[in-house]
């Protein structure tokens, strides 16, 4: 008896603690949020782009030149480079993800970039596109057919592109670039230092091409085609084009912030203005509160005391879910909020199943304590079954979804799991404590119900 009472108290205190955390860590609800503890400050809700406003970009990465085994390596390198590039611009919490090509995505390697707060698409695309693509190419063998175009005046132009073939060496293997000036001509030049892999590759290329040209391509255009005099084993190269000092300086900066290991092209863009996002957040919060209140009224009208208990455990359910959203953290989208709101309805339907069973048992003339425990054990199978089917759906949706669908699947799935705990364990502990209040008429009335007999 005492044990149950203490357990109820512990759950109530823990629940309020979690609710307090959710409340305290929300800047909108606290006037003095600036002076709040750092623990609270570090856990706001993470809002998705459709709620916070921002830009969502999907790039296709052209990995046709990358050997099969190294695709995922170079995609990760690409992600790191773009992340670094975005960080320079001070975007808060950007998300850069690699989406591997496979059966589902049709074999395309994609890079997904989310930029919260950036609503100027052009600025966003520039931010990413500015990174230079540095490539090293070697002379094609003599028998490769060359593209020559003859224009109207009879002037023949040789297509430089067919003269060179790509090598594995790209800006990906660059360790750093520095600006130097030629001691004799005072001309600016850019000196490159490769990393370990790059050094090896460069040594190999120079060894195999002594006396031939090696072309250095920047963003798909050749900027320098020096002739190799001897093997270079130390991984140092110099680009001496006809730069102005300013151009050379800019190039060094761009190279150091990371050259793209593979070329990318933009597949789709999505921008959501901040106003639209704000409206969605307000509507979502409003819907959650109204939904909760209506469900609470419904429960208390229909089930009286057990309904009140279910409402309290629903409060605990909501606190736990919101705290999990903050701590994991879950990126909330409009669809995610929908999933959460639906999970409020689902969390309660387990309780409804139980209470209907309890009422049935009471009708058979059982004591309240017996009816409660029989109600729980009989309703368990139905609850398990209905939750399994929802959970299957959520799981598969999460597996296959785009970020939008994932948000919904995640909040719904979490709701299903947590509701099993709150609707069954928490409600059961509360009710079995209350049962000891007595067996009088009042108690029986409280466990009865208004509408169904």
């Amino acid at each position: 008896m005492w044990k149950k009472f203490v357990l109820t108290l512990v759950i109530l205190i823990l629940g309020s603690g979690i609710a307090f955390f959710v409340y305290k860590s929300e800047p909108r609800l606290n006037k003095n949020f600036a002076i709040a503890g750092s623990f609270f400050k570090n856990h706001p809700f993470r809002l998705g782009l459709d709620l916070s406003g921002g830009t969502h970009l999907v790039y296709k990465a052209d990995v046709s030149a990358v050997p099969a085994g190294q695709v995922s390596d170079s995609m990760n390198a690409l992600r790191d480079v773009i992340e670094r590039r975005i960080n320079i611009f001070g975007v808060s919490e950007p998300v850069v993800q690699v989406q591997n090509g496979g059966l589902i995505s049709g074999g395309e390697e994609q890079l997904i970039v989310d930029l919260p707060g950036v609503t100027d698409v052009k600025q966003a695309i520039d931010m990413i596109g500015q990174t230079p693509l540095l490539e090293f190419k070697t002379e094609a063998s003599k028998d490769t057919p060359q593209n020559v175009t003859v224009d109207k005046d009879g002037k023949a132009t040789l297509d430089l592109g067919s003269q060179f073939v790509a090598t594995e060496l790209t800006g990906r293997y660059l360790e750093r670039a520095t600006l130097e000036f030629d001691t004799n001509t005072r001309e600016p030049k850019v000196s490159l230092q490769f990393d370990d892999v790059g050094t090896k590759l460069f040594a190999e290329i120079t060894k195999n091409n002594v006396g031939k040209m090696v072309a250095i391509y920047l963003d798909g255009a050749p900027i320098s085609t020096p002739v190799v005099r001897e093997e270079i084993p130390n991984g140092q190269a110099v680009i001496s084009g006809s730069f102005t000092p300013n151009e050379a300086k800019q190039l060094v900066g761009r190279l150091n912030s990371g050259a793209l290991p593979v070329p990318i092209s933009l597949l789709s863009t999505q921008t959501i203005g901040a106003i639209l996002g704000d409206n969605a957040v307000n509507a979502g919060v409003k819907a959650t509160i109204i939904g909760f209140l209506l469900v609470a009224v419904f429960l208390i009208l229909l089930y009286r005391l057990p309904g009140l208990v279910a409402t309290i455990s629903l409060c605990i359910f909501i606190s736990i879910i919101l705290a999990l959203f903050k701590l994991m953290p879950v990126t909330l989208t409009a669809a995610g909020i929908a999933g959460f709101i639906i999970s409020i309805g689902i969390a309660v339907d387990a309780n409804v199943l139980i209470f209907e069973r309890v009422k049935e048992e009471l009708r058979f003339g059982r004591s309240i304590a017996d009816a409660v425990s029989a109600g729980f054990s009989r309703a368990w199978f139905s609850i398990r079954d209905s939750n399994i089917s929802n959970f299957i759906t959520a799981l598969i949706l999460f597996w296959f979804g785009t970020s939008l669908i994932k948000g919904f699947a995640l909040t719904l799935g979490m709701g299903v799991i947590v509701s099993m705990f709150s609707a069954i364990t928490v409600t059961r502990i509360f009710l079995s404590t209350l049962v000891f209040v007595g067996e009088g008429k009042v108690t029986r009335f409280l466990f009865g119900s208004g509408i169904t007999k």
Partner: protein, 307 residues
């Protein structure tokens, strides 16, 4: 029990609704959104008054972006649907919309999806539909694995797999009607099939199957209790089981329907149709588990006995 008594009427209602839904699907067709077929959607709101639609249409046609759809939205806004646009085309569109910066405007949202991304999403959606259907069917098979011994009672029992088939028929009913509803909506209000539509269909599968299983569980429980009795009246037991469980079934669905309606009326605009579809799915899911699944079960048993 009136539901069992008038079973043919209720089955008739369901058949009518399904046929109507299928008809509207074939007549109106699916209005596929840019999520799946690619394209661009731009929403702008003008600071002052918005320009006349036909004037704007004329200047937009001059851009030669192919077919452009211009829809007024709110009091001062437009939604512009085009093929997918790249960076410079997007800038050009905005410039034209603002009448070369004459009319100040704010871009509320811009969404451009390349055809290959749309194709990828289509592939994913189809795969998800197949997988979830398979998983749900497996789940139904699992849920009904135990009744087979009842068929040993001779012609009185309905074999376990028939429960499963009826559950699946009910499920199709629950999905087809909201889809039909959505097709009507998309015809009259321009709703488009996007990824949320697919999610709604799949969520309905998960939400509505449980209701049918709960009632079938009750029927089997009552059958088991009657196992000793020599002559059992199948339709009476089904009626009794329905009586015991239909209020509960309605109440559990009601909590979900309440929150879904709230989501529809007060929630974000982007999930409005989603909430409506789920509400319809939940409503017909509950309806079908009471008024379709159990009558079908009785009908099956009657056919069996007649043979």
């Amino acid at each position: 029990m009136f539901i069992v008594k008038y079973k043919k009427i209720f089955i008739g209602i369901s058949i009518t609704l399904v046929v109507l839904s299928l008809l509207s699907l074939f007549i109106f067709g699916l209005n596929i959104g840019i999520d799946f077929k690619g394209g661009a959607l731009t929403e702008v709101v003008y600071k002052a008054e918005r320009p006349e639609q036909d004037v704007l249409e004329k200047s937009l046609t001059a851009l030669e972006f192919g077919s452009i759809l211009l829809q007024p939205t709110g009091e001062k806004g437009y939604i512009i649907k085009t093929r997918d646009l790249n960076d410079s085309e997007h800038a050009l569109l905005l410039e034209t919309l603002s009448g070369d910066k004459k009319d100040a405007l704010t871009e509320m949202s811009f969404n451009s999806i390349g055809p290959s991304v749309g194709l990828e999403l289509t592939r994913k959606a189809i795969l998800a539909v197949i997988l979830i259907s398979l998983a749900i069917i497996c789940f139904i098979a699992f849920a009904f694995r135990k009744v087979s011994h009842l068929s040993a009672m001779g012609h009185h029992g309905v074999a376990s797999w028939k429960y499963g088939i009826i559950a699946i028929i009910t499920l199709l009913h629950d999905v087809v009607i909201p889809v039909g509803l959505f097709v009507m909506l998309s015809h009259y209000y321009g709703a488009e099939i996007d990824s949320l539509f697919v999610v709604a269909v799949l969520t309905i599968l998960g939400l509505s199957v449980s209701d049918t299983i709960v009632i079938f569980d009750r029927i089997r429980e009552n059958l088991r209790n009657q196992a000793g009795v020599s002559k059992i009246n199948f339709s009476e037991i089904v009626g009794k089981s329905l009586e015991q469980s239909f209020i509960r079934s309605i109440c559990t669905s009601l909590t979900v329907i309440i929150v879904l309606l709230v989501l529809f009326f007060f929630g974000p605009v982007s999930t409005r149709y989603f909430a409506l579809m789920l509400t319809a799915g939940m409503f017909f899911g509950t309806y079908s588990s009471i008024f379709l699944a159990s009558p079908l079960l009785v009908l099956t048993e009657e056919w069996q006995t007649r043979k």
